[in-house]
């Protein structure tokens, strides 16, 4: 009789299987129910453990969201202040993303830490697409990777195209000196006609579109200005200081690169914190929903085991009487 009741209980649990990932819990609960041993409170233990771990995860993700929010506040000020620094260069030289050059170097800015949503994958996707766009006969594009996450993704299929990998950028708070040393390093080690920096520009906490900023080498600038077109007006500018125009253009290109890199790195850091905030927020919400479902399961399990006990007692008593 107890066995029949057991089997009835087992069948009652079947419709509780929801298509959510807690089905693993449900099936383990069921298998324990159908075991012939004592069944009264063991099953609730499993659900209770699960609930405890989900609640802990919810606390952790909530805390991570707060931390990301405070970091975002700090770095957003820096990023907004640095936005003025690349505008004069674009005002002078214009923006030529469709320039046709032989050696393209694609610099992908990404984060070192994970749990920040999809921004690193977006940057890598755009970089790979840019590489496809700018490659062709006699043209080559190579990568310079900043950040662990993009490095991990690139190493899988474009290992030969990676020139330089730089990680742990944010160990010390970002400042211009550090970025200019980094830019110097890149320029020394890499041959380029055009540098394309791919990063996520910070618009708001929920919007960080990928952006590509193009910096041309001094030779390319000369060539484009001579051939007319966008940079044709550059010739009308008088050059003060320095021996030759080439020297000034060289300094200009290097300065432009370091300024644009500085802004790119800051904006990407902001986007990373914003993405982490929204990822942790949705994770906490998800954990909350999971907790609700588990609570219902727990209550049902508990009530079912109480009912089982009652049935056993009553059937035992009625067997004795009758």
């Amino acid at each position: 009789m107890a066995m029949a009741a057991l089997r009835r209980e087992g069948r009652r649990f079947v419709p509780l299987i929801s298509p959510q990932p807690i089905s693993a819990v449900q099936s383990s609960v069921i298998s324990q129910e159908q075991a012939p041993q004592g069944v009264r409170s063991i099953s609730t233990q499993v659900v209770r453990n699960r609930m405890k771990s989900v609640k802990n995860i919810q606390k952790i993700t909530k805390a991570m969201k707060m931390v990301a929010a405070s970091k975002l506040r700090a770095i957003q000020i820096k990023a907004e202040n640095s936005r003025g620094v690349w505008q004069p260069f674009t005002a002078l030289l214009g923006d030529n993303p469709s320039v046709d050059v032989k050696k393209n170097v694609i610099i992908t800015v990404s984060s070192d830490k994970g749990l920040c949503g999809g921004i690193n994958s977006t940057s890598v996707k755009i970089s790979k697409a840019l590489q496809k766009l700018t490659s062709g006969p006699e043209k080559q594009s190579t990568y310079v990777v900043l950040g662990e996450k993009a490095k991990a993704q690139f190493i899988r299929d474009s290992k030969d195209n990676i020139e330089l990998c730089i990680t742990e950028l944010q160990r010390n708070p970002l400042n211009y000196t550090q970025v200019s040393v980094l830019a110097d390093d890149i320029l020394k080690n890499v041959e380029y006609d055009a540098l394309r920096i791919v990063f996520n520009k910070f618009h708001s906490v929920v919007s960080f579109p990928p952006t590509v900023a193009t910096v041309l080498s001094p030779e390319t600038v000369e060539r484009e200005s001579e051939s007319g077109g966008n940079l044709g007006v550059l010739d009308s500018y008088e050059i003060e200081g320095g021996e030759t125009k080439g020297e000034i253009l060289q300094n200009l290109a290097e300065f432009q690169f370091s300024c644009v890199m500085f802004n790119a790195v800051l904006e990407n850091a902001c986007s990373e914190q914003g993405a982490r905030m929204s990822a942790m927020d949705s994770s906490s919400r998800n954990a909350g929903e999971m907790l609700d479902r588990l609570t219902l399961t727990y209550n049902r399990t508990r009530q079912a085991s109480i009912t089982t006990e009652l049935i056993e007692i009553i059937s035992g008593a009625s067997a004795l009487k009758g």
């Binding site: 202040n81 620094v85 004069p88 260069f89 030289l93 214009g94 500018y237 003060e240 300094n251």
Partner: protein, 203 residues
Amino acid sequence: MFRRATSLLARPIISSARARTRPFSTDLPATEAGDSNFIENWKKLIPNIDPPKTPLSFMQPRPPTPSSIPTKLTVNFVLPYASELASKEVDMIIIPATTGHMGVLPGHVATIAELKPGVMSVHEGNDTTKYFVSSGFAFIHANSFADVIAVEAVPLDHIDQSLVQKGLAEFTQKLSSASTDLEKAEAQIGVDVHSALNAALTG
């Protein structure tokens, strides 16, 4: 989110269609065409992903060169960590170019000047603000817009005279004892900056 991104991208391109008659790069006409060129190429080759934004869509376009000389010079003085002056209308600025101090008035010819460490002064009516700038660049456009980009700038009253003297002595000593070219160059830069600071404070 992608719909908003494409509408954001559409706006500057449409405005540029009206601006196509302007001839100067400060007005960014052909660069808008370059932008749309890029987008077209992108869409042809990679139709599934939205094209990335480019810096042009985040900038205010500059006005064209007016036919008569404007009365005021519009100055943008930017540092990597702050925008000191953003589109401020002034009468004149004096910048420390490598060829010497240069005065810039409205209607100045378009120039690209490399800066050396020195004093930059901004004249507005009867007020003059002086900053000590480290090196950088200054772009003067034909439409009386001046962009000065420096790595560091401090108002003159924030500089400590005694520290300057100490620094100058230290770097002169380093210069005389430098062995490699790199050390010599570094020491020379230190000496240059400190002597410019000294001159700025005394002069």
